[in-house]
Symmetry: C2
Amino acid sequence: MKELITALPKGRLLEPVIGVMREAGMIEGDLNIETISRKLVFTDDVTGNSFLLAKPKDVPAYIEHGAADIGITGKDVIMEHGKKLYELFDLGAGYCKMVVAVPESSGIKGLDTIPEHSRVATSYPNITQQFFARKGIQVEVIYLNGSVELAPLVGLADLIVDITSTGRTLKKNNLIPVAEIMNSSARLVVNNVSYKTKYKEIVGLLRKFEEMGGESRDGKNILSGR
Amino acid sequence: MKELITALPKGRLLEPVIGVMREAGMIEGDLNIETISRKLVFTDDVTGNSFLLAKPKDVPAYIEHGAADIGITGKDVIMEHGKKLYELFDLGAGYCKMVVAVPESSGIKGLDTIPEHSRVATSYPNITQQFFARKGIQVEVIYLNGSVELAPLVGLADLIVDITSTGRTLKKNNLIPVAEIMNSSARLVVNNVSYKTKYKEIVGLLRKFEEMGGESRDGKNILSGR
């Protein structure tokens, strides 16, 4: 068996993802989460598989350039990245929705009442631009790295596009969702060269993921087409 | 006196910057750092001045669009943002250098030994692109949101452009600086409309900063030119 290099997402998904990797046999040594999260790269002594820890938003770069064979990150991040990445599996974790949200006081009830040339703050400029273009609504997109929900409060933007899971942050800032753009969850992505050169290993992992439950979604075509 | 809205940088600079704001008389109420850092926006009851907390990288957006009158962020962030922002004062804090760094094992000793078409990982794609273009070296820039020092370790990039203050992170990852791109420190930036409509308040603050020490740099021309 060839060793695989996996890009793992730092943050709240790291611990559950490590659990899944262990259950799938990718990690067999006694690495614990504390040891792991202090490092940027680590190798499992038993299986020889290596792992690198990256910001979820950076996982696509590692996959695209082949620094990792496979990786796990959110569908939202994959879509925003834009470039074609093979997406093999929906891990059924880290569920969230990307929504258009407006201040309660704005009186906006849906997309059809968004004034033209509204300013939209978001950390997902590509998805946002494409979404409003498709809907035929002209908006000005303002890119923010974080605290997007602050933008309408201080008059930086009229509305926002952001991800939400419980809806608590929106509510706390008197924002209400008026449209859904997409659903997101953690996905297994693969480098297209690795998918050929390490096909057996990657498909083996995929089979284990399937046995463990969850659903193989967009990737189904890629697999059945071979 | 008109009230000012100030964009403050979250993170390690927040506490010293709050101290400076208090010393300059911008905050007179008994707000403490714990209360402040849990909020995104707060108003000082005594002076009526408001403050918003943003990622350092987002401060230019708040200033550019006039959601804040003034803001404090790093020179590195201002340069990367690229658009013209009035920069009034060097707070003489948060000093760091932006450098080109290479793996010790690469044998690269300076810019003249960087191979053409090298891949450069960085969180500062604009500055990086411009720097290498000016030097006449063709490189491929790979944008990363974080952990840039990981890129050469895993073969994602041949070198990096990143900020460093103590040099510890570089050393830990066997990276050595081979060129300096710029020095950075915390700067006071101002919205160009606010600079006219709240001129007295902003210049008053600037005078206090000057009395407190530090140096008025790029802003000197703006001030003496009026």
